[in-house]
Amino acid sequence: MIYSLLVLSSPFSGHCSRTAAAFAHCVITRGHTVRRVFFLDAGTLASAANSVSAQDEDTSMKDWAELANQHGVELAICITSALKHGMLDQVEADRNERPFPTIDSLFMMSGLGQLVDAYANSDRLITFGG
């Protein structure tokens, strides 16, 4: 089956964002396809390249990195939410006269049309919020 994930949870409160990453891994392990993971609202903070965690805390970044690098899963962040949360790629940094990009290059700036494309072409849409 084809799955898409919608992640609304911030990676900095609760562990829902990490659950979403683990879920995507298991979907692939079980022989399904992940068409896209779409990050919206506070979910876009998962792309924060410069977030520094306490030494004894894990972040979800390495889980997302493995999905993107090993399995080629598309990690799409909603551009409107991302910009509001200070998440910019090189193009947006240049366009908005900010000194440097703030998102990890694993993530792709996208419009909400990519969320529509994801659910329209998936058998399952699983939402992670809260």
Binding site: C16, A22, C26, R30, D123, L125
Partner: protein
């Protein structure tokens, strides 16, 4: 049939709204703050049992929260078990 995922405590409006729509034949996965609804011998766990829905809790989330006295009606699953449920249920509603 609907797979409900609850990521909010039993005193939340999310829980209230979830209960309003859940029916026999559905399944509910308790995660994050939702794991507190799995605590045995509580009013909340009895309410959940009465829905006739299949009840699950994400084991790691329950363990992280120190919820060890899980109601006998609630099955502990890992993330892979969660994925298996989504294979069976065509619809998921996230309550949070």
């Amino acid at each position: 049939m609907i797979l409900h995922t609850l990521n909010a405590s039993p005193s939340s409006s999310a829980f209230e709204d979830c209960l309003k729509t859940i029916a026999e034949g559905d399944a509910i996965v308790l995660m994050g703050d939702g794991v507190y609804a799995a605590i045995a011998h509580t009013e909340v766990s009895r309410v959940l049992e009465d829905t006739g829905a299949a009840l699950y809790v994400i084991a790691d989330d329950a363990m992280a929260a120190g919820v060890l006295n899980i109601s006998a009606a609630v099955s502990s699953i890992d993330i892979s078990g969660f994925v298996v449920l989504t294979e069976t249920f065509p619809l998921q509603q996230a309550w949070y």
